[in-house]
């Protein structure tokens, strides 16, 4: 199906809705002050801002803090507009209301080429699509933290809310003192007049709540004193003194503990079990059957006096397990299926430009190859670093693969739940509080209004905590605990073997080069399971549909490239392997950038062009990409000679609205690549906090390096073979590179920083390995292939 047909049919289906919606004004996200639950003299000015009697300010915090620093970044927006020191702004968890929903994340899921969204280039299809999705997202108000969208989403909601609050406070003072607003000053939480009148926010708030704002314009960037500075993060001190409360740290009077043993085969279940040996263990209280909730595998929960007691019981359980009824998964078979699909199926074309011959990409099934071999169709067509390689008009082919990956958040899956009659309360490290509440209500069979969600800090998210399987399990266990709260905590083994994995993908790529050594055509087809339809089915049922529509998150990173090749075709084949998959930091970009930028590096070599120069040639009408590329190259000293034994590579990739280029410098130690330095340039629009941005670049590089070197989840006879960090290695301090961050100055609204530095790392590293060793790696992970 062509993209145009899909969009038009989607538009016509929604046409009737459009007529009704079009007439209604855009839903305001200002919100009712009651949402902030003011108490003890606090005064709420909207659903976002309340003022304490001492004049300090509280921001309703709708997003989850999992290390990305948004609790501070969003508080900075408020502090700036209200001219307050950052310490005078604190946050409280936002309630459940659609004003707290994430709009930017859903608009970001649209399958448009970023160029089509640029000012001056925006087509009607893009405008209509973005309007429709934004409206839908505002109406539904799904509160989710993900997609590197928190700052972007807050930009036109929290800043105006704070600006309106400022206007109300100024207006209140003006009315009270009968003095013109223009003569009033605002600094350090105090409104004052040269005549000597002054009042702090706490004294004005009561009046302000009933005063229309005297002003409501957000501050221009040139007047910022806090935004744009490396302000210290508000959550750092607690985390340094061991006082930060993660989900696992929830402690309640009378709380019990529970752990799980799920069927080792994904999709399996307990066949027969004897709880006797478990219950005989000291401190073990109960054994509970767990159905397959929210896409998770069925199993058994054991309740005990502590986690350790529950775990002793769990290990003592006598269980015989059955495999998945439809047959157990196997990743070697899956990879063959993916490669066959990439080669032989047409898929959905996400991007087309010019003319691409239908037979450019391979369409014949190929002989079976092993999942980890580094082979390509047409290896002979790509010379390995030799000058005087093939010339004249020619085509180049390659095949790439990427494996399943686990999230491996350091805090294992957990949720604390208490069910008392028809009331449910949960304490969860969740990225989706309302989805969690709805899931809890369903499991307990209570009205949604009877469910209270407490969002804790998250010991890592990376997309894993967009799922609600562990929430459902905790509620089910709590239903059997006589009204006592119970903390359900998974072992690391259960966490690694029962994840929602980054899906494996296989891709075939081809390019045509003309007699002038110019790349005229680029075609890519990748195959892998869709994520979004499965995620909707697991928790956001209102968006689930009987047939899967093309999933942009599977193709992102392939169809949205900035290069001006005359003819382009990028397609994605949605396979149905069925291994549970979910959103993994940078999602489709995590594998597609490896495929696309890896191939770009091959084309540069094939045309005997320097990797930076090659990209410059084809970055036509892409000034932002060019600026990022040039900044990284300049800061890394690209082109200057390297110390003998060192090599470097580069990659450029756009994701989540931001553009990142990385230069990776390596040596080879005992056969394994050692990364010494990564120079990272980013255009993320206006920088809210450059220190937090640098942290996210550093974080993403280490995360991506772990995956590129080591990451692989293998399933045999339905069971995930990797169980703990001894089998799923992580990059540690000794092998962590120095990451240097350079931010392009910009006046555009902020775009993502949590994920965009993940995708370019693998292809930049592959480029460096090729430069140093002559060996092209087209499959991840690299370490098993090099050592």
């Amino acid at each position: 199906m062509k993209k145009r047909t899909f969009l038009l049919s989607a538009a016509s289906v929604s046409g009737a809705l459009l007529v009704g919606w079009g007439a209604a004004p855009p839903r305001s996200r200002k919100g009712s002050p009651a949402l902030m639950l003011p108490k003890d003299g606090e005064v709420a000015l909207s659903g976002w801002i309340k003022v304490a009697p001492d004049g300090s300010v509280v921001l309703a915090m709708p997003r989850s803090e999992m290390g990305q620093g948004i609790h501070t970044a969003l508080a900075m927006m408020v502090a700036e507009e209200l001219e307050l020191p950052l310490e005078r702004v604190r946050t409280q968890q936002a309630g459940a209301d659609s004003i707290y929903g994430n709009v930017a994340m859903f608009v970001g899921g649209l399958p448009f080429h970023p160029k089509d969204g640029e000012p001056g280039h925006r087509t009607t299809a893009v405008k209509v699509g973005e309007w429709m999705v934004a409206k839908l997202a505002r109406e539904m108000g799904i509160n989710a933290t993900g997609g590197s969208s928190s700052v972007a989403d807050a930009w036109d909601v929290i800043r105006p809310a704070a600006a309106v609050a400022r206007g109300q406070l100024l207006g209140a003072a003006s009315l009270k003192w009968k003095l013109p607003v223009e003569e009033l000053t605002l600094a350090l939480g105090v409104v004052a007049h040269p005549s000597g009148k002054s009042a702090h926010f706490g004294e004005l708030a009561g009046h302000a709540a009933n005063t229309p704002p005297a002003t409501n314009a957000v501050k221009l960037a040139k007047y910022w004193t806090l935004m744009g500075t490396p302000a210290p993060r508000q959550d750092v001190p607690a985390k340094v003194f061991g006082q930060a409360t993660f989900g696992i740290d929830t402690r309640l009077p009378g709380m019990l503990y529970a752990t799980v043993r799920m069927a080792p085969a994904l999709g399996g279940a307990p066949a027969r079990f004897d709880p006797g040996p478990a219950l005989a263990k000291p401190g073990v209280l109960r054994v509970i059957n767990l159905p397959p909730y929210a896409g998770q595998t069925a199993g058994l929960a054991v309740v005990g006096a502590t986690y350790w007691h529950a775990q002793q019981g769990a290990q003592a359980l006598e269980v015989s397990w059955q495999g998945r009824a439809a047959g157990n998964f196997d990743t070697r078979m899956a990879m063959k299926t993916l490669q066959n699909a990439a080669e032989t199926k047409a898929g959905f074309e996400f991007h087309r430009r010019g003319n691409v011959p239908a037979d450019l990409l391979p369409a014949r099934p190929r002989a079976a190859i092993s999942a980890n071999s580094a082979t390509t169709a047409g290896d002979a067509a790509v010379a390995k670093g030799s000058i005087g390689a093939a010339t004249g008009a020619r085509t180049v082919h390659a095949a790439y693969t990427a494996p399943y990956l686990a999230h491996a958040t350091l805090e294992p899956m957990n949720c604390t739940a208490q069910v008392q009659g028809d009331r449910v309360e949960i304490w969860a490290p969740t990225q989706v509080p309302q989805v969690a509440a709805q899931a809890a209500a369903r499991v307990a069979g209570v009205p949604l209004a009877n469910v209270k969600v407490n969002v804790t800090l998250l010991g890592g998210g990376f997309g894993r905590r967009l799922e609600v399987d562990f929430v459902c399990q905790a509620v089910r266990v709590a239903m059997e605990c006589g009204g006592k709260p119970v903390q359900l905590l998974w072992s690391r083994e259960e966490d690694t073997t029962h994840d929602f994995y980054r899906p494996a993908h296989a891709a075939v790529l081809a390019a045509s080069i003309n007699a002038d050594n110019m790349v005229t055509t680029l075609a890519i087809r990748a195959a892998g399971d869709a994520i979004s339809p499965r995620w909707f089915e697991r928790g956001v049922m209102i968006l689930a549909s009987p047939i899967d529509t093309p999933d942009k998150t599977a193709a992102e990173g392939l169809f949205d490239m900035p290069y001006g090749f005359e003819n382009q075709s990028m397609s994605q084949v949605a396979t149905q392997i069925g291994i549970p998959v979910g959103f993994w930091r940078s999602v489709g970009h995590s594998h597609n950038a490896f495929f696309s930028e890896g191939f770009i590096d091959e084309l540069a070599l094939e045309t005997q062009t320097d990797a930076v120069e090659f990209r410059r040639k084809y970055l036509v009408d892409a000034p932002r990409h060019l600026a990022v590329l040039n900044l990284a190259a300049a800061k890394a000293g690209w082109g200057l000679p390297m110390v003998v034994g060192m090599g470097r590579g580069i990659a450029l990739h756009e994701s989540f609205g931001s553009i990142v280029a990385q230069v990776v410098e390596i040596s080879i130690e005992v056969g394994v690549p050692k990364v010494h330095r990564v120079v990272c340039a980013i255009d993320c629009g206006q920088a809210v906090n450059p220190s937090i941005i640098a942290q996210q670049m550093e974080s993403s590089v280490v995360f991506a390096l772990t995956a590129a070197l080591h990451g692989s989840i293998d399933v045999e006879a339905g069971e995930v073979k990797q169980r703990n960090f001894d089998g799923y290695p992580m990059v540690k301090l000794a092998s962590a590179p120095l990451v240097q961050t350079f931010i392009v100055a910009s006046d555009r609204p902020p775009t993502g920083v949590g994920e965009p530095a993940v995708p370019p790392l693998a292809p930049a590293l592959a480029s460096a390995i090729r430069a140093l060793t002559g060996r092209r790696l087209r499959n991840m992970p690299f370490a098993p292939q090099t050592s």
């Binding site: 803090e65 999992m66 290390g67 990305q68 490396p230 302000a231 210290p232 993060r233 750092v236 001190p237 607690a238 985390k239 340094v240 003194f241 061991g242 930060a244 409360t245 696992i248 740290d249 402690r251 000291p282 502590t306 986690y307 350790w308 958040t409 350091l410 805090e411 800090l457 010991g459 890592g460 990376f462 072992s491 690391r492 800061k635 990272c680 920088a687 450059p690 220190s691 941005i693 640098a694 942290q695 670049m697 550093e698 974080s699 590089v701 280490v702 995360f703 703990n724 960090f725 001894d726 992580m730 540690k732 301090l733 000794a734 962590a736 120095l738 990451v739 240097q740 350079f742 931010i743």
Partner: protein
């Protein structure tokens, strides 16, 4: 049994086989020490016992009776931070923060044993896993706390 934790005598009625990690977290409600893997692979559960960095998820509580145990709660407080914790804040080390208690305890032991560690000594001692990749700031904070000079940070500022 009698345990000596952060200079205080604490009486706990627990199975001697129970790992110290769970005694701390689930019996004493001292949740600063974290659980990450249960096989001493990640270091999130690190405390100091008689001066040595110890991974408590594999340390039976019976084996530490009579020993001096220091947890993150005993390393320093907001009003009296250790030099390491002050350096951690200055370098803005934590992101999610989950590994940081163990990381700090391991660093505290390192500095006790090697007051001015070299990069190689830091590499060898700091084997804790940080999934958020704070490693380069951990290194800087250790050097800062030990009074060693730091290379200027190129690119966006790393310290506040």
């Amino acid at each position: 049994m009698q345990l000596n934790i952060n200079g205080q005598g604490i009486h706990a009625k627990v199975d001697p086989a129970m790992p110290l990690l769970w005694v701390l977290r689930d019996v004493l409600n001292m949740t600063g020490t974290k659980f990450g893997c249960g096989i001493a692979a990640c270091g999130a559960c690190t405390v100091r016992i008689d001066g040595l960095a110890t991974r408590t998820c594999v340390t039976p509580v019976g084996s530490v009776v009579g020993k001096r145990i220091q947890t993150i709660e005993g390393l320093g407080t907001p009003s009296a931070p250790s030099k390491l914790q002050a350096a951690w804040i200055a370098e803005q080390v934590p992101q999610c923060g989950y590994c940081q208690s163990g990381m700090l305890m391991a660093a505290a032991v390192l500095l006790d044993q090697t007051p001015k560690p070299t990069d190689a000594q830091i590499d060898a001692a700091m084997t804790n896993i940080c999934r958020c990749g704070t490693y380069q700031r951990v290194r800087r904070a250790i050097k800062r706390a030990s009074g060693q000079s730091l290379d200027p940070v190129l690119g966006a500022g790393a310290s506040a």
